[in-house]
């Protein structure tokens, strides 16, 4: 039980993520801003949840991906049954669906951890037999916070704590940019994987066991990613491919898209023509559930 007695009148509760002591009255952890309800739920379930971290560069589509993933689970896609634990768990998917329904992308995720969305879901796959329930915690982190932590470890310790405790990691990469020849997605993914390599430690001959699903987002721009994701990564994200091959024993590659078609408007509110706003005309989900499914099976 994650409860420590301070005195006869006060109890302290350790945060599930950063293990900072918080008073029983706290709603949000004073260290990492994770909801204390995570601890209360895990106590109620009698088990610690599995943390699945969705990481990636700024503007790669983490919020949209995670929002749609949670919504698909809520709608029992592919036989999954998912129960949100706490109303706060629904905020993210509601935010994403509401914005996309209005043909707008959801707002940028701030770097400040107290403004991140957290989701705690109980989920299982209905296979007709009695299957195990998994308690999943999935935070929607800001890409800039991830980048800052990767470049300068301990800038945002909550990210380190999350990655250390993760049962699996979904690494989102901008396939459209990579297919267009930009080296930026490759370098960011390389830095992130290198950070995880350092963090998980191990000798040179020991490979990292934590399952990592590399998700090629925005693959509607480069449909060949769906045909053969591994070949796409080898060709367009070669640095990432090589590091995965050398240092990680459980990596798989997936292509994914959420937006069916995109338009662009210019002008903005002050008539500035240099301001370009992308408009998602409709959603067309493909490849959203598969990476999650793979991670769950590996984490089990």
């Amino acid at each position: 039980m994650p409860v420590v007695s301070w005195s006869a009148d006060e109890t302290a509760i350790s945060c599930l993520i950063c293990e900072k002591e918080n008073s029983a009255e706290a709603l949000v952890c004073g260290g990492c801003a994770a909801p204390m309800a995570l601890v209360q739920e895990s106590v109620a379930q009698g088990r610690d949840p599995q943390i699945i971290s969705v990481v990636g560069e700024s503007n790669v589509g983490k919020t949209v991906y995670l929002g749609f993933l949670l919504d698909m689970l809520s709608r029992r896609a592919k036989g999954y049954e998912a129960i949100p634990k706490g109303a706060y768990s629904i905020d993210l998917q509601q935010n994403v669906i509401a914005h996309m329904a209005q043909r707008r992308f959801p707002p940028k995720t701030p770097m400040e951890p107290n403004q991140w969305h957290w989701a705690y879901y109980q989920t299982r796959k209905d296979t007709g037999r009695k299957t195990k329930w998994y308690d999943l915690v999935m935070p929607d982190m800001a890409g800039e916070a991830i980048a800052a932590e990767v470049d300068n470890p301990d800038t945002f310790r909550v990210i380190r704590s999350l990655l250390t405790k993760s049962s699996g990691i979904l690494l989102l990469v901008d396939a459209a940019l990579a297919a267009n020849g930009s080296p930026r997605p490759d370098f960011f993914a390389l830095k992130l994987m290198s950070y995880m390599d350092t963090m998980f430690g191990g000798r040179r001959d020991q490979r990292i066991q934590a399952p990592v699903a590399v998700v090629l987002c925005k693959s509607d721009y480069c449909p060949e990613a769906f045909d053969n994701p591994r070949k796409f990564v080898q060709a367009n994200l070669n640095r990432l491919w090589n590091l995965c091959e050398s240092r990680f024993s459980s990596v798989e590659f997936f292509a994914c898209t959420a937006v069916g078609s995109l338009a662009y408007s210019t002008g903005g509110e002050d008539g500035d023509d240099s301001y370009v706003q992308p408009i998602p005309l409709h959603t067309s989900l493909r490849g959203v559930l598969e990476p999650f499914e793979w991670i769950i099976n590996r984490a089990a």
Partner: protein, 372 residues
């Protein structure tokens, strides 16, 4: 701002934190910094600088301010503003933060007043510049730029004297707090800084106009309104929620006398004199010290409104109070000067007090400006 620059400038390291897209990166980060900003300082600046949706309001002219001490011992003062629409087209405005990092000597040039540094930084800024080289030149700040709001009116309006006095009590007994200041928060902060001694200003860790974020590790967060999310975030932690409009929350307290004095003098337009007295205070404001200073200020006020025949009484009272500190000496000298001025005509000095920068020597004002 209508200000003629002084001859001397204070050089400070500078940095810019905002969201831009470059060849190698995208999003909020430290896009430029002068070489003197160390790696450890840069890490803290990244953690403490505001990102998307951090400004308390979405207006085009929204501005915010933060000041805190870095673990290196240097002091950071940052000016944040809105810089157009967020560049990835996801709504909201881009937050642009211009940062100055000062050592103790540089802060001394501003009398350790972060509000004055903020004013100088705003004055020195060329506005929003998104195409910056990674390496910046240090910024030269003019200490003669007056603090925005310290003299009655500021960038966001005129502060309420009651609110200034209440904010002063928070800084005199530092504790973690979210403070609601609905009217002219930056001007209120500037006026409060002028009403606390330099020793207390040195330790100020505060943001004004930024949403609360525990990751910033700032002691006092001043916001314009009540936000449910903030209340949730601080519940169960040793962080107070204080509303400057709530009279009951500030009743009593060890600095009540000083707060009353601050409120009276600000209401009377005696900002310069208040600043002169606080600048003369060179030791922590204990309850006893505050009581003595407030007693001397009260005596000064009574002298200035009294008939000449009461002069001897005031001299006796002054002698009874005695003088222990530099600030008390300053006030005692002012009381003595006021007594002498009030004395019968044949005993008055021939030189009238001049309205010069040394307001301490002329703490005698027109009685009609004081609200009783």
């Amino acid at each position: 701002m209508d200000h003629q620059p002084g001859r001397l400038g204070v050089v400070a390291d500078s940095a810019v934190f905002t969201s831009v897209r470059t060849l190698t990166s995208e999003g909020y980060r430290l896009v430029a910094a002068s070489p003197g900003v160390t790696a450890e300082e840069r890490t803290e600046l990244r953690r403490s600088s505001p990102s998307h949706n951090s400004l308390c309001n979405d207006r085009v002219d929204a501005a915010a301010f933060s000041a805190y001490r870095l673990s290196s011992g240097r002091y950071c003062v940052a000016h944040s503003c809105s810089a157009g629409a967020e560049h990835t087209g996801r709504g909201g405005s881009r937050v642009y933060t211009r940062i100055a990092v000062l050592d103790d000597a540089a802060m001394e040039a501003f009398a350790c007043d972060p509000a004055r540094v903020y004013a100088a930084l705003s004055f020195a800024s060329d506005g929003v510049e998104l195409s910056l080289p990674p390496e910046l030149e240090p910024v030269t700040l003019d200490p003669s730029v007056p603090a925005l709001g310290a003299s009655g009116g500021g960038v966001d309006g005129r502060p309420d004297p009651c609110h200034v006095a209440r904010l002063v009590t928070i800084f005199l007994r530092p504790r973690q707090a979210v403070v609601v200041a609905p009217e002219a928060p930056i001007a209120t902060f500037a006026a409060a800084m002028a009403a606390i001694p330099a020793e207390h200003r040195r330790t100020v860790s505060c943001s004004v106009g930024l949403r609360f974020a525990a990751s910033r590790e700032i002691t006092v967060t001043v916001v314009p309104g009540d936000e449910g999310a903030t209340r949730r975030a601080i519940r169960g932690h040793a962080i107070e929620w204080l509303d400057l409009r709530d009279e009951k929350a500030f009743e009593g307290g060890e600095h009540a006398n000083w707060a009353r004095l601050v409120q009276t003098w600000i209401r009377g337009g005696r900002h310069r004199e208040l600043a002169a007295v606080t600048d003369a205070v060179d030791e922590p404001l204990t309850a006893g010290a505050v009581f003595r200073l407030a007693s001397l200020c009260d005596l000064l006020d009574r002298v200035q409104g009294a008939p000449p025949e009461a002069s001897a009484e005031f001299s006796d009272e002054l002698a009874l109070l005695g003088v222990r500190t530099n600030a008390e000496r300053v006030l005692a000298d002012a009381v003595a000067a006021a007594v002498a001025k009030n004395a019968p005509v044949d005993t008055q000095p021939t030189d009238a007090p001049t309205d010069d920068a040394d307001a301490v020597g002329s703490l005698v004002i027109d009685d009609s400006s004081i609200e009783r």
